[in-house]
Structures are given as structure tokens and as C-alpha cells.
């Protein structure tokens, strides 16, 4: 059964599992997989007679804002967004993220787009899910070269939000705020804690409930392919076409 499920569909399914308790999920720039996951969670909530609000910034249809581009940040600061997704050129073991570049700032060796809204969103949204498909010592590093947004802050700083999970195409980690460290929670098939250790540039703990990622069942796949795919094609046409041919 697993053969005809795409890798992206597995990741969408993993992310959707993390959204079941939310009232409002927002999705920022360049995030087709998180966007699809949020809409999947919304559709599934609807079947359970629950309401999940989804705001996708790059969509005009799935967007709840009318007060301009600042509304996302004001809304998040007010505590009205439960989950947001962030990525990183590099992510380190303390959940610091780097969206700016590698090498010494400012004349970085390799310059990437920039920090976007991460320096605020990371502080105020209760559940930040870090998502980076590539799982390698190049992306998951001991120490990031530039901190776009820090994973942890000292107690004096106002910070109701922060990192909760990190998903890659090989594993799901949970972030433990107390010891400022990730713990390995789920593995993709073909991975072991040893392969993950080899491919991860930072030290992490092994969660006591370590298990394999569960594949989406047929019902979920149906919703994803029939309901979510056409929605995603409105704001990420290239992605929707590549994965679902819509």
C-alpha cells in the first residue's frame, strides 16, 4: 500500500497530525507542504464538526486578513495564531534558525533571501513547527552561522511562543525547552536512530516513545487528493501539478 504514496504526502500527513488541537493555523512564504497540511487538518476537522481556521499568506482565497501585510504579525502578537511554520538554511541543536546565509555575516559566502517574519513569529506563536526537507549535516548543524531567530530566550524576554517540533524528510523531532535540546520522536521507513545520528550535525536525545511515522490511511489520502489538491493549486500551482497532476 505504501508504494503509491508520495514522500510529500507522508510529510503533509505528519504535519496535519500536529494541528489537531488548533483553532487557527497560519502559513507563510514558500511553504506548499505546510499549506497543504493546514488545509488537510481543516478538512478533517470539518468532518468531525470542528472548526479550524487556516490563513495562507500567499493565497487570496484562504486568507482571513484585510488590514494589509502587517495583520499577520499583529494577529500573532495578540495570541490569535496557534501554529506557524518556519524553515531554515541551517537549524541547530538549540533550535536557532538561519534564513540569511552561510559564512561570516554580512558578506556571507552564500546569501539566502532573509529572515522574513521569523524574528517575531518565533517569539509569539505557541506552536512553531520547523520544517526543512533536506536532512543532512549541512542543514542540521551544531551552530548556525547567523541567528535569524533564536530557539530559546532568557526568562526576562516576553516569549509565549517557540519551537515545538522539527520535521525533515527522514525524521520528526520534539523540542524540549527545559534542556534546550531536540529528541528524536519518529523515523521515516528505512531510517534508524543510527542513520539519523550520522546525518544530523547536532546532538539530540532519543524520545522514550520513538516510533515510525504512520502512513496516511485511505480516508486521509482521499481527502488530500480530492479536496486539498485543488485548493493548493490556487496558491502553489507548480507544486500541486507536480504532486497531484492538478
Amino acid at each position: 500500500m505504501t508504494i503509491d504514496i508520495k514522500r510529500e504526502e507522508l510529510l503533509i500527513s505528519q504535519l496535519a497530525d500536529l494541528l489537531i488541537n488548533d483553532n487557527h493555523v497560519a502559513v507563510g512564504a514558500a511553504s506548499p507542504i505546510p499549506g497543504a497540511a493546514a488545509l488537510l487538518a481543516k478538512e478533517e476537522a470539518r468532518y468531525l464538526d470542528k472548526r479550524l481556521r487556516v490563513t495562507i499568506l500567499h493565497s487570496s482565497r484562504y486568507n482571513n486578513f484585510t488590514d494589509g501585510a502587517r495583520e499577520l504579525f499583529d494577529c500573532a502578537a495578540q495570541g490569535r495564531i496557534d501554529t506557524f511554520f518556519l524553515g531554515g538554511v541551517q537549524i541547530d541543536g538549540q533550535a536557532n534558525i538561519n534564513l540569511v546565509g552561510t559564512g561570516k555575516y554580512p558578506h556571507t559566502k552564500k546569501r539566502f533571501p532573509g529572515s522574513f517574519g521569523s524574528p517575531l513569529m518565533y517569539f509569539v506563536v505557541p506552536q512553531i513547527i520547523l520544517f526543512r526537507e533536506e536532512h543532512s549535516p549541512r542543514t542540521l548543524v551544531q551552530k548556525v552561522d547567523f541567528i535569524s531567530a533564536p530557539g530559546v530566550s532568557d526568562d526576562k524576554i516576553y516569549r509565549p511562543g517557540g519551537p515545538k517540533y522539527l520535521l525533515t524528510n527522514r525524521a520528526l523531532f520534539k523540542f524540549n525547552k527545559k534542556n534546550e535540546k531536540f529528541s528524536l520522536l519518529k523515523l521515516n521507513e528505512n531510517e534508524t536512530s543510527d542513520t539519523i545520528t550520522k546525518l544530523t550535525g547536532f546532538d539530540f536525545d532519543i524520545h522514550e516513545d520513538l516510533s515510525y511515522m504512520s502512513w496516511p490511511d485511505n480516508k486521509r489520502l482521499d481527502i488530500m487528493r480530492n479536496n486539498v489538491a485543488p485548493m493548493v493549486s490556487e496558491f502553489y500551482p507548480e507544486f500541486a501539478n507536480k504532486i497531484w497532476g492538478v
Binding site: A29, A30, H58, S60, F65, T66, D67, G68, A69, R70, E71, L72, F73, D74, A77, L99, V100, G101, Y105, P106, H107, T108, K109, K110, R111, F112, P113, G114, S115, F116, G117, S118, P119, L120, M121, Y122, F123, V124, F146, I147, S148, A149, P150, S153, D154, K156, I157, Y158, R159, Y236, P237, E238, F239
Partner: protein
């Protein structure tokens, strides 16, 4: 006499001096690409860009053409088509000054100017390298006893005054009011700019203030210094509610911009298109 000033693109460009701080709208709020061609043709060297909060092909082209000395932004990206190559190379080589910021800070600095107060506070950001590299930002301890957490460290951002803002919109009415729909960040930009010029797809024989709905979604002409009617003025970028972005063209650009020589070839064609 028309109740607003009509400008040609060249006349708008003539209002700009080298060294000016230009307001740059995001890819979703009406990028004035036809105007950008004229701007590049004029051969500026020291324009400073203030992006709200990011830029795509407009910023990358201006940088690649050598028009920019400084950029304050949350990101420069070609979206689904990857990195902005001319921007990345200019930063790596140190050819432009980069003031790395974050979206809410770029908004807040203009909101301070809207209110004519010298600074605006913002939560978050503290402890990031974005904050640590901004000598123009300050951290104070919250002085308010009645709000927030006492003595909480809080970031202060300076008010920023933009010299000239140019953006593209769907339409103006006969009185020079501009329809901006839900793209309210354009109003923030306009309020914080000394001069505002707008290119529009068309001028309508109507008055947006006669109807509650169109009044609520327009930028009043009192903030607008001149209007130029330019069909397809955002191409190849999107114009919200009017046309989508020309993804084929942006893809073509993203490939051409990878090297300086193929970028120059592309721009010869683009500036004459």
C-alpha cells in the same frame, strides 16, 4: 482641468534624485515594473530601497543594473523560482549595504512615521543576529507600570521617512483616488512617504467615495502626487484581482540572472519590451 496630476513615466522618474530612499511594495501589492524600466534607463547609482516587507524581481533587477547602494528588507526572493541571484551576489561581494530586517519591524518603522512619533516598540526579535546587527535599533526596559511586564526588555525602532513611493494599482477614479483593495500596506507606505506616484491600469469615470465599499478600499487622492495610466504596468508580476504573474517570464529571468553577462543580455531585451 482634471482633479489630479497626470504624469508620464519619465516625469515620475524625474522626481527622483540619486540617494533617495524609495518605497518598494511586495510582490502581492502591485509592483510598478513599467516604471522600474524607466528608472533603470536613467542610470541611477545610489538609490536606497525600503521594502515592505520584501522584494522580488524589481529589487533584483535594480541591484543587478547597479542602481542600488543600500537595501533594507526582510527578504529578497524570486518565490517559487528560488533565490534572487543579483541580490545574493551583490551582498556576497559587498557591493551593496544590506540592512537585514524583519517584516513586522519594517511595518512598525513606517507606522511610527504615520503617527509622527520618533519610534515604535516591537516585541520579539531581541537576541537574534538581525537585532544585534542593527545599530539604529535600541533596547530599553519597559517604563510603563500599567501595561506589559515591568522592566521587560523591549525593542525600539526609529521612524522611517520614505522620499518617494511608486506602486501599480488596478484603477484610479476621476478624482485621483486609488483602488488598493485589501492591500492596506500600500496605505501605510503612502502615509510614510513624502511623494507618492501611482501607475494604474485605467482611470474610471467614477467617484469611489460615492459608495461605502469602494470608499473603504481606496487610498484617498490626498496622499497621491501624480498618476500615470500604464496598461500591464506590473508585468511580469501579478496585479491582485486583475492578472496573475507571468511565471514563464519570471522563470526565464531567474535563469538569466544567474550570471552577470546573461543578466545583461536579458535586460537589453527586457528594457525594450
Amino acid at each position: 482641468m482634471k482633479s489630479f496630476e497626470e504624469f508620464t513615466l519619465k516625469e515620475i522618474v524625474d522626481q527622483i534624485e540619486d540617494g533617495f530612499l524609495l518605497g518598494i511594495p511586495a510582490d502581492y501589492s502591485g509592483v510598478p515594473m513599467a516604471f522600474t524600466k524607466e528608472l533603470i534607463n536613467k542610470g541611477f547609482k545610489n538609490l536606497r530601497l525600503y521594502c515592505l516587507p520584501l522584494t522580488t524581481i524589481q529589487g533584483d533587477m535594480l541591484i543587478g543594473s547597479g542602481c542600488v547602494s543600500e537595501i533594507e528588507t526582510a527578504a529578497v526572493t524570486l518565490g517559487e523560482f528560488g533565490l534572487a541571484p543579483r541580490f545574493s551576489e551583490a551582498v556576497e561581494k559587498g557591493n551593496i549595504k544590506i540592512k537585514d530586517s524583519t517584516c513586522p519591524a519594517l511595518h512598525a518603522q513606517l507606522q511610527a512615521t504615520e503617527k509622527s512619533v520618533p519610534f515604535m516598540p516591537l516585541r520579539g526579535v531581541i537576541g537574534s543576529d538581525v537585532q544585534k546587527n542593527r545599530k539604529d535599533w535600541q533596547i530599553i526596559s519597559n517604563p510603563m507600570k500599567s501595561a506589559g511586564v515591568e522592566n521587560e526588555p523591549i525593542l525600539l525602532l526609529p521612524a522611517v521617512q520614505i522620499d518617494v513611493l511608486v506602486f501599480h494599482a488596478a484603477c484610479a477614479d476621476r478624482n485621483g483616488n486609488i483602488q488598493i483593495g485589501r492591500r492596506r500596506e500600500l496605505a501605510t507606505l503612502a502615509h510614510a512617504s513624502r511623494k507618492v506616484f501611482v501607475t494604474v491600469e485605467q482611470v474610471l469615470e467614477t467617484d469611489f467615495f460615492e459608495d461605502e465599499l469602494s470608499a473603504a478600499t481606496c487610498l484617498p487622492s490626498l496622499y497621491v502626487d501624480g498618476i500615470s495610466e500604464v496598461k500591464n504596468g506590473a508585468w511580469p508580476c501579478m496585479l491582485p484581482g486583475v492578472y496573475p504573474s507571468d511565471n514563464e517570464e519570471i522563470k526565464k529571468y531567474s535563469l538569466a540572472a544567474k550570471t552577470k553577462s546573461s543578466f545583461d543580455e536579458y535586460m537589453k531585451f527586457f528594457l525594450n519590451s
